[in-house]
């Protein structure tokens, strides 16, 4: 298999809390090839954002490896990491709070350029040119350059966030819920833009979201997380046509659709709520809510390759 651009091997992230160890991300493995998108889906608190941040070393991983072009970046020094971060960027969820309200749009987009090494520093004219080009690429009209974030609506602000990530010419972007704060009509514009940029620049994305419809649309592979564990990992079309894990099945079933023929469908609603990931019991963490749970679910939780490329920790969801 071709070398993956970004790869995680048994990545774990625990947080120390007064009540004990919080298992936010547990033994996560994935590979993202160049120009591909990995979708990470799960409900709030399942560890998907923590995973995204750990991959970029914004959180210090507890154990495991993150490989960028085959090299373990978790062992990199500060200056080596500085170089890697030019290629690995992030877009944040909230376009309202992730932009400094006192910086103009031009200054915001140009800010990452000031971190370049001295030899590559741009002159003021070059920087202006670069920012203009990036703004155009991200669909931001140039007259916005001297405006401030509060003058822009959510969709435009998210474009600014994207422009900031794009200005250094990255190869990999972690998109943490980039469209969930936006209205549907604006959401579609941003998703199209992300896909266009991917085609043009062969970008790889890790796309974190709780919205399954969005993730299906944009992803090549999808990883479903529940309380820090990966419960299912498969190519997008396989996951949607033949979900196996009971949690994936329930999740797919819970999405309201405008398809009236599905209106009266039998609902598999799962009861209860996510329990606490602090000092969790061994075995499947979905078991307390799972309609098919048995004694053996307390055993080890392991992903098994059920069919080619389709990994699931449990196949009880198959009808």
């Amino acid at each position: 298999m071709a070398q993956a651009l970004v790869e995680a091997v048994d990545l774990c992230k625990y947080f120390k809390t007064p009540k004990g160890l919080l298992h936010a991300v547990e033994n996560v493995n994935f590979r993202i090839q160049e120009g591909k998108t990995l979708g990470v889906v799960g409900e709030s608190g399942c560890g998907k954002s923590t995973l995204g941040r750990t991959v970029l070393r914004l959180h210090k991983a507890t154990s495991g490896k993150v490989l960028y072009e085959g090299k373990d970046i978790l062992s990199f020094s500060r200056s080596e990491m500085h170089n890697v971060h030019r290629n690995m960027q992030m877009i944040f969820q909230d376009p309202y709070s992730s932009l400094d309200p006192r910086m103009s749009i031009r200054a915001l987009i140009g800010e990452p350029l000031s971190g370049l090494p001295r030899s590559e520093r741009l002159s003021a004219a070059e920087e202006k040119e670069k920012v203009d080009a990036i703004m155009q690429m991200c669909g931001l009209p140039l007259h916005y350059a001297n405006m401030y974030p509060h003058e822009l609506d959510g969709g435009m602000r998210q474009r600014v966030g994207l422009a900031r990530a794009m200005v250094l010419g990255p190869r990999f972007i972690v998109c943490d819920e980039p469209v969930s704060a936006l209205d549907v009509s604006i959401q579609a514009q941003i998703l199209n833009l992300l896909m266009d940029l991917q085609d043009e620049h062969k970008l790889s994305y890790m796309f974190i979201t709780h919205d399954l419809a969005v993730v299906r649309h944009i992803s090549d592979d999808i990883m479903v997380m529940y309380m820090g564990q990966v419960v299912e990992y498969a190519p997008s079309h396989m996951l949607f046509s033949s979900p196996m894990h009971p949690y994936t099945v329930a999740l797919l079933n819970s999405i309201p659709t405008i398809d009236l023929s599905r209106r009266g469908r039998e609902r598999i609603t799962i009861h209860g709520e996510i329990s606490s990931p602090v000092n969790p019991a061994p075995g499947c963490r979905f078991a307390p809510r799972c309609p098919y749970a048995t004694e053996e679910c307390r055993n080890e939780h392991k992903l098994v390759e059920v069919e080619k490329g389709h990994f699931a920790a449990c196949t009880k969801g198959v009808k």
């Binding site: 399954l212 819970s254 996510i274």
Partner: protein, 326 residues
């Protein structure tokens, strides 16, 4: 057919801010029958919440109902004194606010907060009777009654929303205004909450006005739909009318086109170009004209008349020819 519980006619609401007058609602008309579930769909800033607040007369100080009428069971609410509204709010008409995290009092136990409704509206009940009702209500929304002495921060988001629903329903209102009740929640919890609201509706025959931007939720939960854009209703009808894909308003069509389809692999989405018009200027013609692919000269000049076909009503000049002399 049962009678209209709530009738909103040609309602105009504006916010008189320091800078400018913002026209939030521009002639909204809406009917809701007893026991009906109406979905009010629209984007941020379309005026959905303003409409709900107008019904309860809870608009902020800068808000002003400029003209129109809101009648509830045949009584004109806009002429009633505040004392009348106090008896209505929380007793006959309840509202569920969008954000369960901020609509509860953090220093009062949830049981006390639910009982507050009874203290206000049913002072004749004994303490025991009230407590019993609170326990029943909590159980009904799926919270063990033993947790009633706990405080909001000890509950998760979904549980808090249940508490808010319990508060809204304990007085068995005739009308429930639910403003984005599940937006802050995960899909599996959303499914639980919507199933619960459905059951409660069946039990108490409460009419529901569901305010949301989620078309899927409306298609699954509601009987009728009204689509609101820039403070105007652009289309209304039964769920079947709207989602069968025939004779939709271009805006509704656009909204439906924006949703990634779960059952199909499609490469690109079809966003609606442009942005919602600035609410500080009143549109002279159709509010959607500037973003509409089929806009004609007429659309920018005249407000479209209603085109009705049975239960389905569309406000769009494209249907002028089909009106056929009516």
């Amino acid at each position: 057919m049962s009678e209209n519980l709530l009738e909103v006619k040609d309602l105009h609401v504006q916010y008189n801010t320091d800078d400018a007058v913002v026209y939030a609602l521009n002639g909204v008309s809406l009917n809701l029958k007893e026991g009906e579930k109406l979905g009010l769909v629209g984007e941020t800033g379309a005026g959905k919440t303003t409409l709900a607040l107008s019904v309860l007369r809870l608009l902020p100080k800068v808000g002003q109902i400029a003209s129109g009428s809101i009648s509830y069971k045949g009584e004109e609410l806009l002429d009633k004194p505040e004392s009348y509204m106090l008896g209505l709010r929380g007793r006959r008409v309840s509202m569920i606010f969008q954000d369960p995290m901020t609509s509860l009092n953090p220093v009062k136990s949830v049981g006390d907060q639910i009982r507050e409704v009874l203290d206000l509206h049913f002072p004749q009940l004994t303490k025991e009777a009230k407590n019993e009702k609170v326990d029943q209500m909590l159980q009904l929304v799926g919270i063990p009654a033993s947790r009633k002495n706990e405080f909001p921060h000890q509950f998760s988001g979904g549980m808090k929303q249940r508490v808010v629903i319990a508060m809204a329903l304990i007085s068995q209102p005739e009308l429930l205004l639910a403003d984005e009740p599940t937006t802050a929640l995960d899909v599996t919890i959303q499914a639980q909450i919507m199933a619960l609201m459905g059951q409660l509706k069946d039990r108490f025959n409460t009419a529901v006005l569901l305010i949301t931007h989620d078309l899927g939720l409306v298609a699954e939960f509601c009987d009728t739909v009204a689509v609101i854009y820039s403070g105007c209703i652009v289309e209304s009808g039964t769920v079947e009318d709207i989602f069968s894909g025939k004779n939709n308003h271009p805006y509704t069509k656009g909204l439906i086109g924006c949703i990634p389809d779960l059952s199909k692999d499609e490469d690109r989405l079809h966003p609606i170009p442009g942005h919602m018009a600035d609410a500080r200027t009143l549109p002279s013609g159709c509010p959607f004209a500037d973003r509409c692919a089929n806009a004609m000269d007429k659309c920018r000049k005249e407000r479209p008349e209603a085109f009705s076909e049975g239960t389905h009503t569309v406000f769009c000049h494209l249907f002028d020819n089909m009106r056929g002399g009516v």
